[in-house]
């Protein structure tokens, strides 16, 4: 659905925004597009949406070249830029109707109603956009992007500036849309990616540094720390568990609660060995889990290079 081949963008003959960015997104995937600020995310998105051409390389949306068949490619894309593009003096309905018109939709009324229903805007249909709260404006932006039921949705930080409830609503909506659309989602919130994306794409200094499924991303690193809660054993626990291979240190946080530091040179996750030991000692295992967001670890690791 989205194909980027060797995309390079050089601004003003010297500033290299992205270099040789290559990736594919298959139909029905939700891909988290991550990277520090200034890594080239927005540039990549602007090339994909046909806002500007790449200096080198090419991109295709639903099989259409974004430069050579730009108008056709644009018909297959819904785009929510970082600054939600709204006309404050228009009502929600008038704005969506205008967007439907310049997108050349034949059944405008139905498309507008459908987009408003999907984004929960029906009760705000006749309110001026300038009077809406930030959360509602974000929804209008989303409604605009899905108006023509595009194959591909490109969303640049869709949950930024929303309160927790709105964030959750927008995420649910994206997840729902992801069942039928291909979505490229740029965000800084790693939990969001973990929650709704099938794949992650990490870009840093204009180059793709990681491109893998979420499962791979999470499995690609063993945990640094393990959280353990047991009943029984008491003061023996640190002593016995520290002896296990791959365990560097066991800290007793409070009675029955421990944090286990995994040795840097451990070849595998010591969790199974820990569980087994707990059982053998006759203690009761209450909780055993890796600590911390491993996606965050991956992100920091990938973007720390040079």
């Amino acid at each position: 659905m989205i194909e980027a081949e060797g995309l390079t963008k050089i601004y003003g003959n010297q500033v290299v925004a992205i270099e040789d960015v290559t990736f594919r997104v298959e139909r029905g995937q939700i891909v988290g597009f991550l990277g520090p600020n200034g890594a080239g995310k927005t540039t990549t998105m602007r090339i994909l949406t046909g806002y500007m051409p790449p200096t080198r390389g090419r991109a295709r949306i639903a099989g259409y070249d974004t430069v050579l068949q730009s108008l056709e490619a644009r018909r297959h894309i819904g785009y929510l830029p970082e600054t939600v593009p709204l006309y404050p003096e228009m009502s929600v309905r008038a704005y969506l109707n205008f967007m439907a018109e310049i997108r050349g939709l034949s059944n405008r009324k139905a498309a507008v109603e459908r987009a408003m229903a999907l984004t929960g805007l029906e009760d705000r249909a006749d309110v001026l956009i300038g009077k809406l709260s930030k959360g509602y404006r974000q929804r209008v932006g989303l409604a605009q992007a899905i108006l023509h039921n595009p194959d591909v949705l490109i969303l640049d930080e869709p949950t930024i500036g929303l309160d927790p409830r709105q964030v959750r609503e927008v995420r649910d909506l994206i997840q729902e849309l992801g069942k039928t659309h291909t979505i490229l989602l740029s965000t800084h919130i790693l939990a969001e990616v973990q929650q709704i994306c099938d794949r992650v794409l990490i870009i840093h200094r204009g180059r793709v540094r990681a491109d893998m499924t979420l499962g791979e991303a999470l499995r690609s690193r063993r945990p640094d720390r393990i959280f353990l809660r047991v009943e029984g054993g008491d003061r023996q626990v640190p002593e016995i568990l520290s002896a296990l291979p791959g365990v560097r240190r066991v800290e007793r946080l409070e009675p029955g609660v421990y944090e286990i530091e995994v040795a840097n040179n451990a070849r595998e996750d010591p969790s199974p060995a820990i569980a087994e030991t707990v059982m053998r000692q006759g203690w009761r295992l209450l909780e055993l889990r890796p600590v911390g967001l491993t996606l965050e670890d991956l992100f920091l690791q990938v973007t720390a290079q040079d």
């Binding site: 806002y51 108008l71 785009y79 600054t83 593009p85 018109e101 997108r103």
Partner: protein, 242 residues
């Protein structure tokens, strides 16, 4: 074409909810009304022929300031709001955006111009019996002159995200082109003198006021409009190679 109408209609709608358009329109008509009143008094007192020549002259000057204010919002605001990115990533061509916006400004201006049509009607009603030919050709001239100013204003609006900057640049450009022939008298080089006289926006109004419609004047205004609309499209396009 359909996109062009959609953009023009939206823009025209925006004119009617924007206080600035009302203010500028009202100020324009109030000033015109004042000058018309003084002109009528003068005509009556001096027992001279009633004409619209003085009014057209005043309108020419006022438009230099009004036109760029009418167009300042068109692209500057669109850039500030980020909606330009939306238009340029919708299946719409750059020239459709530019032309649609230009059309909206033109229609608004035409409305103002039609409103001033009350003055010649008043002249007739008062039994002045003015010569109708120079009035009609004068209006055609004012329309073309204003249309040229609007294209320059639209171009200025594409240069900045800031409406005030767009207006100031627009007024500057427009005045520069309206007084281009002033230094011509002091220039000895005949070619340069001719060029300066030719590019002066106001010089081409003379014939229209006298009741003459000269093709070369019409062509001049149409070329100015085409040139500035073309430049505006190029500015929008420059995102591609910047």
């Amino acid at each position: 074409m359909r996109n062009l109408w959609a953009i023009a209609r939206r823009e025209l709608g925006a004119y009617f909810v924007s206080p600035i358009a009302y203010l500028v329109g009202a100020a324009f008509l109030a000033m015109m009304g004042f000058f018309f009143y003084t002109d009528v008094i003068f005509t009556v007192l001096s027992r001279s022929e009633p004409t619209m020549r003085y009014i057209f002259g005043v309108m020419t000057t006022i438009l230099l300031f009004v036109a760029p204010v009418l167009t300042m919002r068109l692209l500057a605001e669109e850039q500030r709001l980020g909606t330009l990115e939306l238009l340029l990533t919708a299946p719409v061509r750059d020239w459709e955006v530019v032309l649609g916006k230009y059309l909206a400004a033109l229609v608004f201006y035409l409305g103002l111009l039609i409103a001033t049509g009350a003055y010649p009607l008043l002249l007739f009603w008062m039994g002045g019996n003015p010569d109708i030919g120079p009035i009609l050709s004068g209006y055609l001239g004012m329309f073309l002159f204003g249309a040229a100013l609007l294209s320059i204003g639209l171009f200025s609006s594409s240069l900045s995200q800031n409406q005030v900057v767009a207006a100031v640049v627009g007024i500057g450009l427009v005045i520069l082109l309206a007084v281009a022939s002033l230094p011509a008298d002091g220039i000895t080089n005949p070619t340069l003198q001719q060029i300066l006289n030719h590019i002066d926006l106001r010089n081409h109004l003379m014939n229209f006021r006298r009741g003459l419609i000269d093709t070369s004047d019409v062509v001049y205004y149409l070329s100015v409009i085409a040139a500035f609309l073309f430049l505006t499209v190029q500015i929008l396009n420059s995102r591609r190679w910047r």
